[in-house]
Amino acid sequence: MIRLHHYELSAECYKVRLLLSMLGLAHETVQVDMYPGAAHLSDSYRRLSPLGRLPVVEDGDLVLDDANAILVHLAASHDPGGTWFARAPGQIAQWLGYGAALAASLGAARLMDCFDTGMDSAPLIARALPILDALDRHLWLEAAEGHFYLCGTGPTIADIACFADTVLAEEAGVALRRYPAVRRWHDRVRMIPGFIVMPGVFPR
């Protein structure tokens, strides 16, 4: 049985919840009280993730503490159709990298604001805007060819990796109307069977 250790308000954890739901995979969940409890920094949690990272997935003997790694693992091992990753691994890996860069900029800015840390998120936002623009460019050009997902005509883990932080962009103070192709793609992702929400994300 797959076991997910997660925190409700974390966009990184949302990525994994989304894929588990879209693939229809049975799993158990363990809530980690990251804020305000700081449970991810406890000794017991650090046995799973020495750095105290969220989410963690345990699958048999395998323990992974990185959202992208978990997405790849789930898609490679638990998607019988092979449509979520194997179709275009190089292209998809590129967007996983963009997703990680968005998490480190836009996602980090959002957490600063949401958890009222008093820190200045402006430098992080400045790093996020060019990434959002590159995403908008790619999605606009793809849509003009009738491809409504990041990598072609069907959803892949690339979409999930970039969806979570961008759909929550307004919580980091970034107006999504600046990126119309990203907004339109959000609609597409919401239509994927098994789509679920988290606080701040609207359903279809």
Binding site: R137, W140, R177, P180, R183
Partner: protein
């Protein structure tokens, strides 16, 4: 305030059925949407109930549903048709969302920022990706006329320019939409005939225009 007239809000192809574009025209926030009847509409982006942005709502058939309390508004006249919290009483009849005049032409959804402005149809072309510039319309228009060799003005909000030779050399019509005092959107039509892969031309256009934007950002 810019002169009243018809300005582009979105590419007609980018406004898919059931989608709501969040756009601003001359300081006015708009929810631009297309229902099952395929008609493009531009509504004031504000729910008459509690003021929530309608652009975060959803489209059901020919109606727009507010995200907050689910009030529904008819595309045809902007009137409220349903209040979920009071399913058995008639919806408030006085409420009506302000719709702006909209038309579709040359592959673009246009909106009149005034009333009854004359519509001039641009020369048809390949619809380009809209790009936001952090400048007002007048400043942007001036900067473009200065920086883009061989460019010329067509009225107060359009320009004619050419892509550089390496990018295909195509002639483009740039259609400016004022959003705010420091925000202007550039829509475009590329005049390249009927090529086999129009997307390749749209790509060359957007990469060229993004370069122009970087140039202006660096000189601010």
């Amino acid at each position: 305030m810019t002169r009243a007239g018809w300005y582009p809000l979105a590419g007609a192809g980018d406004l898919a059925e059931g989608h709501i574009v969040d756009a601003v025209l001359d300081g006015r926030a708009l929810a631009v949407w297309r229902g099952a009847d395929r008609i493009a509409r531009a509504w004031e982006n504000r729910c008459p109930h509690r003021g929530v942005r309608l652009s975060i709502g959803s489209v059901v058939g020919d109606e727009l549903v507010c995200r907050y309390h689910g009030w529904r508004f008819a595309g045809a006249d902007g009137r409220c048709t349903r209040v979920p919290a009071h399913p058995n009483s008639a919806p408030p009849s006085g409420l009506r969302i302000q719709a702006r005049p909209v038309r579709e032409a040359a592959g673009i959804v246009w909106c009149d920022s005034g009333e009854g402005s004359e519509f001039v149809e641009p020369e048809p072309g390949i619809v380009a990706r809209p790009l936001m510039f952090a400048m007002g319309l007048v400043a942007l228009r001036g900067a473009m006329l200065g920086a883009l060799g061989g460019s010329s003005a067509i009225g107060e909000a359009w320009l004619r320019a050419s892509l550089p030779h390496e990018a295909g050399g195509w002639t483009v019509t740039l259609l400016l939409r004022p959003a705010g005092p420091h925000e202007c959107w550039v829509h475009g039509l590329v005049h390249a005939g009927a090529p086999a892969r129009p997307v390749a031309i749209a790509r060359a256009q957007t990469d060229w225009l993004a370069g122009v934007r970087r140039l202006f950002e660096n000189s601010l």
